[in-house]
Each structure stands twice: as C-alpha cells, then as structure tokens.
Subunit: 148 residues, 2 copies
C-alpha cells in the first residue's frame, strides 16, 4: 500500500496519518508551531534536502494545513503559516511532547508554562462532556459498518 492510499481508508487515524505520517512532515509542523515561517529558516534547522522541504510544504498546503502568504514582491517571496486546520493539530503535538518528555529523555528539552496559572503544563486528555480524564477502558468503541 502506498502512503497516499491511507487517505482512502474509512478510518480517521489512517487518513490523519496520510496527512502527517511522512518523516519530515511532522518535523516541519514542529518548526511552524515553534514560529518558523520561512523556507530557509526551516531548511537550515532541519537540514533536509531543499526539494524534500519544498515538496512537504506543497503537500501541506494542498491538504489545507498551511497557507502561503506573500510578504515580498520582487522577487516573490512567501511565508508559511498554519491554517485553523493546522492549528488544530496542536493537541497531537502536545501528546507527543508529553510522551516524549516522559519516556525518551532525561531532562525535558522543552517545557511549556501556562501563562494563566503559571504552572509547567502536563497536558491531559479529558472528556469534553464530563471533564474526566480519558482512560481507554472507560470508552466503548462504536464502529460504522464500513469502517476499516
């Protein structure tokens, strides 16, 4: 199965993976969330091939995750910004950050401080209805009949 075919499965996780699942895509998103918006800036940081970066940016734009904004006329130059659809990937990044800080490093290279309550944040997944932290055993999966 080719990477793009995941987008055709009746599965939200597979389809999400089709958007973000290529190696450099997630690293590009990390840079965008961090505040890098220009090609050279991202390329210098990630040390990836220019063609690879150009391709990933085009794909993310095609998927509606980022948009290009022209900031200069001659020559034409663009910045890359997350759309709302892109911003909504933030919880996913938070989940990776938390897991990574817990299991893959000694000292967390990045901590997030909540401006309002001033605490270092450990992001938690809760139910939007009752506010309880979500445990797998408390959830009942309901698949539609054509689900993958």
């Amino acid at each position: 199965m080719k990477h793009a075919e995941l987008a055709e499965k009746e599965c939200a996780i597979a389809r999400t993976w089709a958007v973000i699942g290529e190696r450099w895509t997630m690293m590009v998103l990390r840079e965008l969330f961090r505040g890098s918006h220009r090609f050279e800036e991202i390329q210098a940081k990630l040390q990836t091939g220019r063609n690879v970066l150009a391709d990933r940016l085009q794909q993310l734009e095609a998927d509606g995750v980022i948009e290009r904004r022209q900031y200069q006329d001659r020559p034409v130059r663009h910045e890359y910004h997350l759309t709302q659809k892109g911003e909504d990937l933030y919880p996913l990044l938070l989940a990776m950050l938390r897991w990574g800080n817990t299991y893959t490093v000694d000292e967390p290279p990045l901590r997030l401080r909540h401006k309002s309550c001033r605490h270092v944040v450990e992001p938690r997944m809760v139910c939007d209805s009752c506010g309880e932290e979500l445990q797998r055993r408390d959830l009942r999966a309901q698949f539609s009949e054509n689900a993958w």
Copy 2:
C-alpha cells in the same frame, strides 16, 4: 538523516517520532489498541508484508511499547500486548482520531462513547494544574540550551 537518527536529537517530539513515525507502526498500534493481539490477525487486517509486520513488532518490543506473551507451548506462540508505556500513547491516538473525524471524513467511522457519562467523546487537551483547555497562545515555551 536516517529515521533512527531522530532518536538522538534533543527533542521529545523527534524522539517520539523515532518510535512511532514509520508508516506501519502507527497502524499496528491502532490494531493493538483495538484489541488485536495476534500476528495473523494484524497481518490480515493491515495487508502488510509479513516481514514488515514482524520487523515493526520487534522494534516496538525493543522500544518497550509492547511485550510478547507466550500463550502456547508447541509450537511456541506469542500474543502482543501494550505495556504501560504503550498504553500511554493513547492520548496521541485520541488526538489523531479527533482531528481525523473533524477534517478527513464525512461520517466518523469510529466514535467513542464515555461509559460513565454516556456521551460521545470529543477529547480535549487541558492543563493538569488548572483544567483549562490548552491553547498554543496561552503557553510559553521554555527550551533548555541544548534543545534541538
């Protein structure tokens, strides 16, 4: 940069990606969370090469995300189960599920119902200290000096 080199970066997201970022790895995890535990079962569902699946399972075991449990003697047969470290990837799956349900499908192929409050769950990321939903703009990033 090779995939495995991401594990050496001083970045929790890159290191997490080194564990879960290969194409079939996430699909294998999805099956495990769904309750599939046997090789044939997973292979039949994902339609992936047997060698690829065997390799991914070995890697996940080496990373401490799953463990093999012998359930039969002759011939020796194992089931694959998530460890606590693996279970802790659940928020990440939830984040992908929510985003995918919102942006990539018409009708969600999978919904999760919270047994306690009986509502269909929309998972939300909140601050563990104050309980407020986490927005990127409310967080201040603090990098250690050697962070990638």
